[in-house]
Symmetry: D5
């Protein structure tokens, strides 16, 4: 099953530059681990905003939550989750 997830990041104002750099590095490592696993299919930057739009193919809603909630910035993001399926007008036989 495939989800489109939009994440808006809100960096806490009290974080030091060191803490921000540290968490940003861990965030990168974490998201790349999931991309490498083949679950996190697309990670796109929204041009001009501290946001991303992602496409994930997972085995279950539980797995989607496991991936997203493992991100160090998870508690500081505003997240919109959309469950998608095949459109009757789509000419592709698969979603991805």
């Amino acid at each position: 099953m495939v989800y489109v997830v939009e994440m808006d990041v809100h960096i806490p104002e009290t974080w030091s530059e060191e803490k921000l750099a540290d968490i940003t590095a861990k965030e990168k490592e974490c998201s790349q681990k999931w991309q490498s696993s083949g679950k996190w299919k697309h990670l796109w930057r929204v041009a001009g905003r501290f946001s991303n739009i992602s496409v994930l193919e997972v085995d279950s809603p539980e797995e989607l939550h496991q991936i997203i909630s493992s991100l160090p910035l998870f508690p500081y993001m505003n997240i919109k989750v959309t469950s998608i399926c095949k459109h009757p007008n789509a000419i592709r036989q698969t979603l991805l």
Copy 2:
């Protein structure tokens, strides 16, 4: 350049079933023409809603508008357009 476009359809209440069927057929034909052209990369149904999330790769903002505004339901959709680019944490070298 790549855009993510979310379209929510609001069917006019005064349309007859014939008119709705006719426009729906033209909508399908139109969207499939653009998918076949290779510009409209993904057309996903939002599960449970009269909405789609689409991914288009176009040469210019003008071309994006040409495609979306050619849809017969264009005047009756609420549309959100997001311009995307490569995310620094993405492991794929290309957007699509």
Copy 3:
């Protein structure tokens, strides 16, 4: 997989009482067919509003869309879809 779906109905003002009665009857028949199938687990009325909150257990997002979009009032509802999963604090072993 389980979804919580909230549907707000907006009755078209140009419908005659006959048309409204006819579609309401078909809506009832349709929703009861899906409840009888075991897919539509809960159908709750929001007290004081022309809305319902429903819980559906389906095999795929496609099936969720098939069910919701088969409702005669589907084009006239504002629909919010939420994909749910097991909560770490839940003491029940199953969602339903």
Copy 4:
């Protein structure tokens, strides 16, 4: 009487990891006490978000408030409360 309650958690940015772990543990203990009492019927995680959707069966609005406001994270949650009742199209004779 039955309520559907949606809770979005906003973790204060100034909390230490120890404080967060401590309050999270107390939150779990508190919510499980109410689940064991039979009042808190369902506790579902919203997939991909720091939110839950819950279903509670209580004797009164006072009791609903007693339960929700006893949660340690209560002051830091955005909460939507919906009072539900039997839907005329429902085939089940009871809400739960």
Copy 5:
């Protein structure tokens, strides 16, 4: 149990003056029947708006829905329902 209900009326533009006068008269009759029954405790006009704020004391959520949905303008109102209970700082021993 007591509810505060805010109702915003949206008069359909296609109604004739006769139809509007007829439904308005029936709306008055209906709301006064419920007020006389002692269930609909307060019916207040929001100054300057086509809206009311009402306070109802009912035996169940089902009864609240029965009352509100019996109003002829029910399908054309935007309705907000709030379930209330005793406030710890209140000096009155009863809600009404």
Copy 6:
């Protein structure tokens, strides 16, 4: 003149438990003083939320502001003020 006022409390995350307890006690004392004066007619808890709905009968908008702004939590509340008057369909001759 009568106002319906809805107040949503947002407790500052940096307050110690002592400060919160202290201000909560002062809040109670302040609101009860105004209730005893006969100006603050109803103080209802919104079930499941850190909010109240209140009904105040005052001599002027100035007096309403004097009362609400004297609450210690005033700067930390999101407040909605509604001026109400007699509804043409109301059977009671007075608002309260």
Copy 7:
């Protein structure tokens, strides 16, 4: 007592030009009657929008509602009502 009222007009699409012209003329006559009475102190056009911001000084909330609801376009306007009073920093001794 003084209110600031913002009114956004939504012209029904099914009105003929004659009906629109007729109601617009009556709207003008009605609003000018109230301005001449001295109750409707200011009537300002929002530049670039089909909206006005008005300032009314009335004897009661009932009188405010009597004035606003007498406008022929009243059912087709989205209206925001704000009750105002003297600001502690104001150097004028009166509101108007």
Copy 8:
């Protein structure tokens, strides 16, 4: 003085294709007259939406309203008006 104006068009569903074509032609004529006058500096299409962002330099708010309200689609547009001025960080000495 300079304004940025965003206009979202909502085509009435009951208009015939002839009426829509007629009003669209008049809309074009009207907007081009104002562009030729030098008042309407920029008229940009929002890519993928039935919206425009415009920049107008006018002598007064009255003139802005005269221009925008002369558009045949004025009653059917949702309009956002922003008054702009020189930014302290701008290196250009003029706004346009």
Copy 9:
């Protein structure tokens, strides 16, 4: 030219009482300076909220910004600016 400006104040939670008292005093001094200058025509308190509605008559948008941004609480206010002009139905020949 005349603007209606609505300002909602959000007091930072980390400010000491001394800092708040100091800035409040400077805010009063600043707003009274502009009122005395004749530019800031009306300063009204929104009854029951930490907000004001103001009317300013200025020579340019630059001057409006100079005045509003000189307020010490400027960075902590949510501000809505509306440019107004003469309404065709107004019987007064001037805005103020």
Copy 10:
């Protein structure tokens, strides 16, 4: 390609005046560098608000993001990005 970008600044309440002055100076330097490069065509202050509306002409969405995200206040701004193109009614042959 051309974007219209609206940026609303939210100054962190815990910043000292020195830090704010330092970052404001760097913000100015950064934005002026991009203006001098010819990419950042317009930088307009929204009159009365801590916001700007900007117009940028860039080679790609990536370049837009590079510019906007290089601003020191980037993590503390709420940003709206709009991709624009030629309007069919525009008489200018170019966007800028």
